[in-house]
Amino acid sequence: MARMKFLCDAERCIECNSCVTACKNEHEVPWGINRRRVVTLNDGEPGERSISVACMHCSDAPCMAVCPVDCFYQTSDGIVLHNKDLCIGCGYCFFACPFGAPQYPQSGNFGSRGKMDKCTFCAGGPEEDNSAAEFKKYGRNRIAEGKLPICAEMCSTKALLAGDGDIVSNIYRERIVGRGFGSGAWGWGRAYPAGTSG
């Protein structure tokens, strides 16, 4: 059984934001809601690295653990989804999430929260696959169409990978071997502060 994962190769991510707009385009996500964001560290300085972040579809997802109305569920592929009909927009999952994935519409002056929205790994929601109702609430269900998340498929430098964890890690491993020792691993610079890579 596949276990779906994202991986962002920080050696390749150039902060072009194609993952962000591809997602907006695919799911017609409104202004102000960002299921995916590119985060840049050390912006403008040597050691600058960018990484694209969305829901990581955790195995032991903190959002699921804390939701008071139990609106989350995990598919057999390991994708964490939620039911917007159940969601009360409390924002507790936002507390719990280590990645800042949950998003809320900002309606009104005080940003009163509506239903939570987040990355679905392009897998829709509880409604019938590829139905209009599903599209309206969650966006397109590419997984049901046999496709992978659009953000990764359209990544300009193939930095963002998505799919079955085994395949993703094989692709990444091959890349690391091709690159040579050390250079590609995230956190390398932290482990060896003198180096500038990673």
Partner: protein, 959 residues
């Protein structure tokens, strides 16, 4: 830890009904925007048009089939395939174009948001004119009649040169060609497009070095590079998908990536070496690198002996650029440049990439030639993995340049001489005298028109100083953002002085609002390229065929249809479209392709018939992703997109030329040598030396040495004329007999026979490093007009003022003034990944606009603290010509001390004033901001009139 993992679906609906409205709010952008107040000001004006064309949910209800249609992204020149999902004529989604060898499914932010063009909420929706300061909707018929009458009136009273036809790199090839033809029939050379302000110095510099002015290799060929050096190029933001190919070389070949840029760009962040020089010192930097190469004997001596002329003169100049002198001028330490030189020498073949950072200078042509010389010295040109990989900007700026939507040439770089006009008159099947009759005089017909960079001077300059009968009085912006041009304050004046201002564009553009006119402005809605079809030339010279994704939205019309309507109004449609089928005012694109196939012999746009191009799009997946060559399948052996030169007629099935000047293949299979373009001998002042190649020739050449370009006389001398068919011979004899050359033989016979014998039709010569007919034959460093390095002016002063392209052009008279005390900071400009060009289209795309909502200036933290500016504060940036813009301060180490940077895509604010209310209702872009070029100052290249938008001086103060 509490765990509540649920297998399939969460518990059933509970609060759903109560929150239904809110839930909808999360998904409908229109509803959301209305509620959020985030785009206030834009909201009250929301269009009444239905966005149904693109509502996926609505289309999804239907069972009809989803079609996949291939188009090409309309942003940069990489040429990414856009796969559009279309259902019931509605563009419902985008899929990755994995089959394309250029992008392999990838997009940047702009390509991934391409579908928004079809939503078009902020598009210009119908023909509109300004009446007493208010926008008024009119019909197409009224628009064409009123504008046509006014233009004809200007022509009658001031001559055809008083109307300026400003074309576009956003036109496809067919439209670009028709546009060039259009203003030839109108009777003026006052037409141009963005290439003038983007890579004109490249085309001039590179073509004058080795024959053609284009990118020599391809993005994909970089896979084979052992080293990459970039000058003033930031592909991470300007050509993001190109980075995929650079990364491939970096990772697979362990190729060093050297970025020479005054800023620590997002590309520099991925580099192995960042060379941070003072803006405007490219020649000094290149000579500083070359100094080490010559000093250590790292140049490729055999290559130079065979294929390069004049390097001894360059050596003399380079000898002056010792590490000390180089550091004094560029600020780059000698030790670093020695390391760079050694890296280049040890990792061959290496590619050299440059963009606007190198071209947009008063010395732009010197820069581009210096880059070429560096590559020639290393022996890197004409090799796979090497080359001068000049990344062009817009999607079809290469094509529009090739069709010479320019003020100084006819399609195919034929020039403006009588013979050039006669060639095209033959292709167009019209009399030379007929064409001449449309011009004010034969002299003006053969003299360069005003370049786009100077149109404002064409309006404002005293009539007595202009080499044409009258000032420019009518201006047609046909797909051009005015905020991409410098001297915004003077441009506003020029716009106000015009009799007539016409904008033909999918968006109103800044041209609609930056002036204070009350009337005499017309806005005509053109379609985007997704609403029409035709060919487009990527930076690597490959042509790709776009299919039409959707029908034109609102009342917009394709550009070629609008051209036909105007031609009809002016009464030359029968002559202009003599051999082009026209249906319901729309010229048949395929007929236009076939027509230019008949005339573009110089650069080999002759073999790319519509049928071949369509087949390439269909069989994209059969092409190798590194070599671009088809392996097996129906197109076996051909190169993707038939990169020009694709010699001869389509019948001879030339595969296209993947890498220019590469003699390792036969010419018939895409090989080449340097072009014989500058005569057989250098002038006596320059040694009177033989310019033909010495012992280097493409594989299988029957002439095992250099040779001149082919003529009928040469064929006869070689005894090869017997290979001509009777038909070919008859045409050649009838044209100019022995003098007929490979460029004007409309049968393609001379080319065919030359190639049959393994020869390049354009001859086989050496590249020249000294361009004796340029202001600086040997590229030299000259300080920018606005420089704060007054200490360098003794040695590196600029040119004397002169007359060029019909206009007085200033150099020394500006540099003579010292502004460095009042304006201490160097100001430069560049791109952001989310936006493109003037940004009217991309700032109207909410998916992109959301990501960059404020115009800003990057200031070094230390400078900011000295001035007393905090991050995100509003500041005034003022330049020596007293124009100023109000922008947000961004404190960063990205720019060095003493340098500030502006992105140039914003518009809609002018010197502190928000112009949103001036846009036609519902057509204001989501994001407005000050245009960088409002503040950018005077300065033009000495050969091409390229604008100087990369170096000026400024002062920054708190607003």
């Amino acid at each position: 830890m509490l765990r509540k993992k649920i297998g399939a679906v969460a518990n059933g609906p509970r609060l759903s009904t109560a929150f239904e409205e809110v839930a909808e709010g999360t998904i409908s952008r229109r509803t959301f925007l209305k509620r959020s107040g985030l785009v206030a000001g834009a909201l009250g004006t929301a269009a009444t048009f239905s966005a149904g064309r693109v509502q996926k949910a609505q289309a999804a209800d239907s069972d009809s089939k989803v079609e996949l249609i291939k188009s090409i992204c309309t942003n940069c020149s990489v040429g990414c395939t856009v796969m559009a999902e279309v259902q019931n004529g509605v563009w419902i989604g985008q899929e990755p174009g994995f089959d394309s060898p250029f992008n392999l499914g990838a997009h940047c932010a702009k390509g991934a948001a391409a579908r928004e063009a079809a939503h078009g909420e902020r598009r210009l929706k119908y023909p509109t004119k300004l009446v007493d300061g208010k926008w008024k909707r009119i019909s197409w018929e009224e628009a064409i009649n009123e504008i046509g009458d006014k233009l004809q009136d200007i022509k009658k009273t001031s001559g055809p040169d008083s109307v300026y036809w400003l074309g576009s790199a956003k036109h496809n090839n067919e439209q670009a060609y028709l546009f060039r033809k259009f203003y030839a029939f109108w009777g003026s050379n006052n037409g141009d497009h963005q290439a003038r302000i983007c890579h004109s110095t490249t085309v001039a510099g590179v073509a004058n070095t080795w024959g053609y002015g284009a990118m020599t290799n391809s993005y994909n060929d970089i896979h084979k590079s052992k080293c990459m050096i970039l000058f003033g190029s930031n592909p991470s933001e300007a050509h993001p998908v190109a980075m995929q190919h650079l990364m491939k070389a970096k990772e697979s070949n362990n190729a060093p990536l050297i970025v020479c840029d005054p800023r620590f760009t997002r590309t520099a962040a991925k580099a192995t070496e960042h060379v941070q020089m003072r803006p405007g010192t490219d020649v000094a930097l290149v000579w500083g690198i070359l100094w080490h190469i010559f000093e250590n004997g790292w140049e490729d001596k055999e290559y130079i002996r065979q294929r390069v002329w004049g390097l001894n003169y360059i050596r003399e100049e380079v000898a002056k650029w010792t590490p000390e002198e180089t550091e004094k001028v560029t600020g780059v330490p000698g030790g670093q440049l020695k390391r760079v030189a050694r890296t280049l020498a040890n990792n061959r073949p290496g590619t050299l990439i440059w963009c606007m950072g190198g071209t947009q200078h008063t010395t732009g042509n010197n820069n581009t030639r210096a880059y070429c010389i560096l590559q020639l010295a290393l022996g890197n040109i004409g090799k796979t993995g090497g080359g001068a990989n000049i990344f062009r900007g817009h999607d079809n700026v290469q094509g529009a340049t090739d069709f010479c939507v320019l003020s100084h040439s006819l399609p195919g770089y034929y020039g403006l001489k009588k013979g050039s006009w006669q060639h095209w008159a033959r292709v167009w099947d019209v009399d030379y005298d007929y064409l001449k009759g449309n011009f004010a005089s034969e002299k003006l017909m053969q003299s360069k028109g005003i370049p786009v960079s100077r149109w404002i001077d064409g309006v404002l300059e005293d009539k007595a100083n202009i080499d044409q009968p009258d000032n420019v009085r009518g201006m047609v912006f046909w797909g051009h953002a005015p905020n991409s041009q410098t001297r915004g304050v003077e441009m506003k004046k020029a716009m106000e002085k015009l009799d007539l201002l016409v904008v033909v564009d999918p968006y109103p553009t800044v041209s609609a609002v930056m002036h204070d006119r009350k009337d005499g402005v017309y806005l005509l809605p053109a379609t985007t390229q997704y609403e029409t079809y035709g060919s487009v030339t990527a930076s690597n010279r490959s042509l790709q065929w776009r299919d039409k994704v959707i029908d034109p939205v609102f009342e917009s019309l394709p550009d070629h249809t609008i051209m036909y309507k105007f031609a009809k109004k002016f009464g030359f449609e029968d002559q202009m479209f003599k051999h082009i089928e026209v249906n319901d005012d729309e010229p048949l694109i395929e007929d236009v392709t076939r027509e230019f196939n008949k005339g573009m012999w110089t650069i080999g746009y002759t073999g790319q018939s519509p049928e071949r191009l369509k087949a390439h799009m269909k069989h994209q997946h059969t092409f190798d992703r590194t070599t671009l060559q088809a392996k097996g399948g129906p197109l076996d052996g051909e190169y993707y997109g038939l990169p020009w030169p694709c010699w001869g007629t389509a019948d001879i099935k030339h595969p296209g030329t993947p890498n220019l000047y590469d003699p390792s293949k036969p010419v018939a299979e895409g090989g080449l040598c340097f072009r014989n373009r500058f005569g057989l001998k250098s002038p006596d002042d320059w040694g009177g030396e033989n310019l033909l190649a010495d012992g280097s020739y493409p594989v299988d050449s029957e002439i095992k040495d250099g040779y001149p370009e082919f003529t009928m006389a040469m064929l006869k001398k070689l005894g090869w004329d017997k290979d001509l068919t009777d038909e070919e011979r008859t045409f050649i004899e009838g044209l100019a007999g022995d003098k007929t050359n490979w460029k004007v033989d409309l049968t393609g016979g001379i080319q065919r026979v030359a190639i049959k014998h393994g020869c390049a039709p354009f001859g086989n010569a050496k590249a020249r490093t000294v361009v004796w007919n340029f202001p600086d034959p040997i590229p030299v460093h000259r300080e920018p007009l606005y420089t704060n390095r007054r200490d360098l002016l003794d040695k590196y002063a600029t040119y004397a003022d002169k007359q060029a392209y019909r206009l007085p052009t200033r150099y020394a008279s500006i540099q003579a003034n010292d502004y460095s005390n009042d304006y201490p900071i160097i100001l430069t400009s560049g791109r952001l990944v989310e936006y493109e060009g003037g940004g009217d289209e991309s700032r109207s795309n909410p998916w992109l606009a959301e990501l960059q909502q404020d115009m800003f200036v990057e200031i070094n933290t230390s400078d900011a603290n000295d001035i007393g500016i905090r991050d995100s504060e509003m500041v005034w940036v003022e330049t020596p010509e007293k124009s100023r813009i109000k922008v947000k301060a961004m404190l960063t180490e990205r720019v060095g001390q003493g340098v500030a940077f502006l992105p140039f895509h914003f518009g809609g604010h002018f010197q502190g004033k928000d112009l949103r209310s001036k846009y036609p209702t519902g057509s204001d872009p989501y994001v407005l901001g000050e245009a960088a070029n409002t503040a950018m100052t005077y300065g033009y290249d000495s050969v091409t009139q390229m604008q100087e938008s990369k170096v000026t001086l400024c002062k920054i103060t708190r607003a």
